[in-house]
Symmetry: C2
DNA sequence: ATGTATTATTCGACCCTCAAACAAAATAAC
DNA sequence: GTTATTTTGTTTGAGGGTCGAATAATACAT
């Protein structure tokens, strides 16, 4: 049951009930399609008459369509309702340090078209290029009416201005995607941190986390980001900068981090950390195994570990240990139902999972170990799918009530 | 704006709008009383006609009363509305390791009567005694109709069963207060962790945190507890065990903690930690200053520090440093608007505040230091007032919508 | 006395859900 | 083959809500 928020309330009008129930019905159709009106009534608890009225309205607005008739042992055949995936398209944008992906998706978050291009170093130039490519993508599908553009970015986003505050791996500061893109396309634009987007994607599109209300998405790449959903809502903090658990110090006197603090979690458990660990181990020994490679990529280390390279395996195991340490912090403090790990390292799940499990068992009281730690099912797409969810949730999840 | 929760939705009926608006109006009256109907209409955005209907209903149910007439330069005089503090009493119970306080409060959370007694070591015996004393308290005020009983306990509470899972400082496990008390008094009983109760108290009764939606209450006593409110709601986690940031390790290889983990925050920053630090410092030196005192209390150390005792001051400063370390974690991860510190140590605020501030400045990027850290205004009462809020929020804050 | 400003109430229009009755459609029973 | 049964979906009136305009009630200024 949801609690009213009396600090930023909005009053209920005569249309509020319809608004609430409409969204409930639409989301039920989204998640259970195909489904009959009678089943919707049973599932929602609304009267069949009310469901009919709402369904009529949704059909008229083309959110749903009527499909085939169902079959039952007795009685009138039910008419199935479907989400009208043709009704609207959503543009998703995933900005990453090296490459940016843009995609056009339907209401089921299935991608109709996508393309990837190199992320320009200069933010102004990047926005210009992004804007052009998005326009081309929209125009190349004139049959689809676009609802909006969702952008996931590798950094925190100011809650009010929607500006990207700081993206350490891009070196960008105070970049405004929203205003120029809205101006050039005329579509509503939502910008969100990548980890937050991943958390949304998990809640919105993954079966396994269907009924979950408390979830953390941990993105592991150059750094570590955390997207936190509590009571079904993103934790954004005062100005949108919550969720920086990657920069919580797990060792007061540890090595300096880029953020200014010392011994941050991501200094020990990010891809960078594993690379540094590997480089240190291999160069300290007498024989350097790969003199030609100055600094390997994380992919290299994963590959070497798969091939049985001891130092690479140790680097991965070292990383897994510290992933466990940080996850213990998250579980102790937030105790979500699920933590989803997103990053290349999940390719070595068989290797890292036992280590993470052991650390959690050592460090958590038995009654506090009720959190599932899972790898993301798809390594590449959660960011992009999260950017779709940014727009989707406007229509499905967030009524303007109370 | 509040978001609907589609994972545990509840549909809107024809009465939903009234239910929402009624609570908004009632809470406006609670926080702004005395207030006229016209002002309520302006503040809420509802029509004056609607406000009148709602006010009539609230008057009939005796939630509010009409008071004096106001005075304006022109026009008809407004009739002030007040919360009817006589309507209902709420029993608050604050269970602490040594002493338990029970109190009868009115709707303004002003205490009408209270008493304190020694907490029995045996939970069954304690519940028996508590039950008796509560009955006596209720019966001694026959003119007041009691709405319910709120209990704050020093440990985490299972979200479903409402049992106290574990209270380390009491040695109690799986204690059920709710069922026996409800049976013996016939009143609804709510049980909540002390830190959560403090967070609620702050949101509900403190002017300074009126419009705040993200707040953390940190209770510092034998251990450290954190009560977290995000988006206006308590963070409870899967089974109610969220908020144990006191048991997050800030030093992987630090001393063993009672919880099984190593180097927990509370091992460094609790009252116990300061006592240990002081004992270690004084016994390691050649001359023991207080050979008679085997182990001082935290109050002793505070007193000694006030008197200028160098070792005591150092112990407090040591504690303050580590408080800062842990607060940096909370700010980095959750970024609340306000963190409230509750505990005896706030009596030495002038001493600890500069240290905490310095640690935060060292450890947080400048753009992440937007959190206010404040001492609780009242050291003794927040737990008790929080237990009142537990019952109050049922009537004022939580409509059964969406 | 009249005009103006402000509060509070009344009343009809409109929106919404509910519950019961009804229409539609398919199978089971005879 | 006709009738009973069962299930889906629609229609309709009652009841509860908010809105907005009109109206009544006050109090002060001119």
């Amino acid at each position: 049951m949801r609690k009213i928020d009396l600090t930023s309330f909005s009053i209920a009008t005569s249309e509020t009930a319809r608004n609430i129930n409409r969204r409930i019905v639409l989301d039920l159709i989204r998640t259970r399609q195909p489904i009959s009106r009678a089943d919707l009534a049973r599932l929602s608890g609304l009267q069949r008459s009310t469901i009919s009225l709402i369904a009529d309205q949704l059909i008229e607005e083309q959110w749903i369509t009527q499909g085939a008739f169902g079959h039952l042992p007795r009685g009138r055949k039910p008419r199935f309702l479907h989400l009208n995936v043709e009704r609207a398209g959503i543009i998703g944008v995933n900005v990453r340090p090296t490459k940016t992906t843009i995609a056009l998706a339907n209401l089921n978050a299935r991608f109709i078209a996508h393309e990837t291009f190199t992320t320009a170093a200069d933010p102004d130039q990047f926005i210009q290029e992004l804007s052009n490519r998005v326009s081309v993508l929209i125009n190349s599908h004139p049959e689809i009416f676009c609802e909006g553009i969702g952008i996931s970015v590798p950094g925190r986003v100011n809650l009010m201005s929607k500006e990207l505050i700081f993206a350490p791996n891009l070196g960008w500061q105070n970049v405004n995607f929203k205003t120029p893109l809205e101006r050039s396309t005329g579509l509503p634009v939502e910008v969100e941190n990548a980890a937050n987007a991943c958390a949304l994607a998990e809640i919105w599109f993954e079966r396994r986390t269907g009924g979950v209300r408390d979830l953390i998405a941990v993105t592991i790449s150059e750094g570590i980001g955390t997207g936190i959903i509590v009571n079904g809502q993103l934790v954004r903090g005062t100005t949108g900068i919550a969720g920086e658990f990657g920069h919580v110090s797990i060792n007061e006197n540890g090595p300096q981090c880029k953020c200014g603090n010392r011994g941050c979690w991501e200094v020990y458990a990010s891809n960078e950390a594993a690379i540094d660990e590997y480089v240190r181990a291999t160069s300290s020994g007498r024989t350097r195994k790969h003199p030609s490679i100055d600094k390997p990529t994380f992919e290299d280390i994963l590959y070497l570990a798969e091939q049985g390279d001891v130092k690479a395996i140790e680097a991965i195991e070292h990383m897994a240990h510290y992933l466990g340490i940080g996850l213990a912090m998250l579980i102790t403090g937030i105790a979500p139902s699920v933590i989803v790990l997103i990053g290349e390292v999940t390719r070595a799940w068989e290797r890292i999972n036992p280590i993470i499990k052991r650390v959690l068992e050592e460090r958590l009281p038995s009654n506090q170990n009720g959190t599932q730690v899972l790898p993301a099912e798809d390594i590449l797409q959660p960011r992009l799918r999260g950017s779709i969810a940014l727009i989707l949730q406007k229509h499905f999840g967030a009524p303007a009530t109370a």
